[in-house]
């Protein structure tokens, strides 16, 4: 069985902070990490390998040469090999061009029984690449998946996944090959083991460029992207804030009255029947 996991290197967002005065970002030392949601895709793949020793897991990324660090982490966690699609031509890709490129790489490396990715990347925050890759590969897609189970059906491998939608969980089934995007419901991702770290240290990811993918240059990177960012603006991140000090008893009581008043103003709570005007504001 062959599993491919898409991995993206992203800036660490937790190390960022907002300057309360200006409302702008304080980028102290933004380091690069593996997209946190990709770790759930990796965990889901590795959990399959725990029970099916014959499974082979390939981690695939598109990015600058430095993105090899993210792939090394995937190998340290237990992936068998790593491939990096890299080259100037790929820079500035939107989700369409990214998915087009990744799908070409998956075709070139495959076939795979399962293609896994994270629900979205924390930098782009679109969640579009998974379903787009599926469309380019002409495969079914299950999004927002938690734990998966595999079963060998009469027609081949069947995946049973728990999907997290807005208002319920869904048990869904789909025959392989397919694409799955994973969310945090997978459970805690494993940490790299020493042996994995050693292997990762020695491993250089296989590099793929435009020529190897057989993609025309006008279909990759910013040239191949049907969307363009035309304007960047700073949102008004700060609001006009009313500040209350609730560290004294009177302060605390006043703060609670103010919260209730706001809730009532916005129509989220109403006075109980019988609670007259006097009941609204307690002395």
């Amino acid at each position: 069985m062959k599993i491919l996991v898409l991995v993206k290197q992203v800036p660490e967002t937790d190390s960022l902070a907002i300057d309360p005065e200006t409302g702008t970002v304080v980028r102290s030392e933004a380091t690069s990490i593996v997209n946190p949601l990709d770790l759930y895709a990796l965990e889901a793949a590795l959990a399959i390998k725990d029970t099916r020793a014959e499974a082979r897991i390939t981690a695939l990324s598109m990015g600058p040469p430095a993105a090899a660090v993210a792939l090394k982490e995937a190998v340290a966690m237990g992936c068998d090999d790593a491939v990096l699609v890299t080259g100037r031509e790929f820079a500035g890709a939107d989700t369409w061009a990214t998915a087009r490129t990744l799908a070409a790489a998956i075709r070139r490396l495959g076939p795979f029984d399962l293609v896994f990715c994270g629900e979205k990347a924390t930098d782009g925050d679109t969640g579009q690449v998974g379903p787009e890759v599926a469309a380019f590969l002409d495969l079914p897609v299950v999004t927002y998946a938690g734990a998966v189970e595999l079963r060998d059906g009469p027609g081949g491998l069947v995946v049973r996944a728990e999907r997290v939608s807005e208002d319920c969980g869904q048990i869904v089934e789909c025959a392989a090959p397919l694409v799955l995007s994973f969310c945090k419901a997978v459970g805690e991702p494993r940490l790299p083991l020493l042996a994995g770290k050693k292997r990762a240290h020695d491993l250089a990811p296989r590099l793929l460029g435009l020529a190897e993918l057989g993609l025309p240059a006008e279909e990759a990177g910013s040239r191949g992207s049907p969307t363009r960012v035309v304007r960047i603006a700073s949102p008004r991140l700060t609001r006009e804030t009313e500040s209350l000090d609730a560290r004294s008893e009177e302060g605390a009581e006043a703060a609670c009255r103010r919260i209730v008043e706001l809730l009532a103003e916005k129509g989220l709570v109403v006075p109980k029947d019988g609670a007259g005007r006097e009941g609204r504001v307690k002395p």
Binding site: T13, D123, P131, Q170, I171, T227, L237, I259, V269
Partner: protein, 333 residues
């Protein structure tokens, strides 16, 4: 006359309310003389006419039960068959788990640009270019995006970022039934298919809740977090949580608000003991009213709050419960 289409969703066999928000978005792009609005409704639904009463001029209803909202390929084929007849200038879907699955799949198939999770849209009158604005870089910047080739210009828009138009029973109802195109039944049979729905034990729908009370690391331990649940039930609110609270096992993942959880925009967000890491703020900063309670006067969430209360949440929660004694949650639809 420019055409704007929306992808309508269903919920329990009826048109999902988020579809009415999409119609309000579509109508906001121009006057009735300038644009016509059509809703594409895949799957069985008892009340397609509601889409017309909420702003659509026309509904394309592909009512085949094979279109269950889960399998993306057959929905893409339905759009493919409609596009063969005419292509609208703009296509909008909700940035829900459904819209964020179906629309990218369709966009890749049809070679369309797609912008995710927009919070502002503007149609340039002269050119017909759709300016698609969304929070980017963890909500620290607003990026405006244009589609440079291909029609329709496609975008998903954030749920609850616009109110539906009032239902107008006098509007004309036009529903055109759309047959399942060739290959769609086979595509649906490939799956995925729904085996079972598991209602969430505690959350009835954080994404749609008008009022969310949320807790973070300030609760110190799981037992502390139970206080928040008491307040939520008193207020008829849904519970949100920071990543720290979820990582510590105080509450389940569906409650997590932020970049690695849900992005929500309730009318009112009441946060206790959440300092406001960017990753959390990005998930709730468009809430209507934000009230934060925190012991740390420098908590970043205060900068985003309409009301910032510096104090001890363990002291304030019981007082707040007492202050709410004479109130009940407002009736909500």
């Amino acid at each position: 006359m420019r055409e704007v289409w929306i992808l309508a969703e269903t919920k329990a066999g009826r048109v999902a309310p988020v579809s009415f928000e999409l119609l309000a978005w579509a109508r906001s792009l121009g006057s009735p003389e300038e644009i016509s609005v059509a809703a594409v409704l895949p799957g069985p639904a008892a009340d397609p006419e509601e889409l017309c009463l909420h702003g659509a001029d026309l509904v394309y209803h592909a009512a085949d039960p094979a279109l269950d909202g889960l399998a993306a390929a057959p929905v893409a084929l339905v759009f493919g068959s409609l596009f063969a007849r005419r292509r609208p200038e703009v296509l909008l879907a909700a940035a829900t788990t459904t819209g964020r699955t179906l629309l990218p799949y369709l966009a890749a198939r049809e070679g369309l640009g797609l912008t995710a999770d927009c919070t502002e849209l503007e149609l340039e009158r002269e050119t017909g270019v759709l300016l698609q604005t969304r929070p980017a870089a963890g909500g620290n910047i607003m990026a405006t995006i244009k589609t440079t080739r291909g029609l329709p210009q496609a975008a998903t828009v954030r749920p609850r970022s616009r109110k539906p138009l009032a239902r107008d029973p006098g509007r004309p109802v036009r529903v055109e039934m759309v047959a399942l195109p060739a290959g769609a039944a086979a595509a649906a049979a490939r799956g995925p298919r729904l085996v079972e729905e598991l209602p969430f034990a505690e959350s009835k729908g954080l994404a749609d809740a008008p009022l969310v009370v949320a807790g973070g690391r300030g609760f110190k331990k799981k037992e502390g977090f139970a206080l928040l649940e008491g307040l939520a039930s008193r207020l008829g609110a849904e519970i949100g949580a920071s990543r720290e609270a979820v990582d510590r096992g105080w509450i389940e993942y569906p409650h997590q608000v932020g970049l690695s959880g849900r992005t929500i925009a309730p009318d009112f967000y009441l946060a206790f003991g959440i300092s406001g890491a960017i990753q959390h703020l990005a998930g709730m900063q468009t809430a209507g009213t934000i009230v934060a309670v925190n012991a740390d006067p420098d908590a970043p969430i205060f900068a985003l709050s309409d009301l910032a209360v510096r104090g001890d949440l363990f002291d304030l929660l019981p007082r707040l419960a007492a202050a709410l004694e004479d109130y009940r949650p407002a009736a909500r639809s």
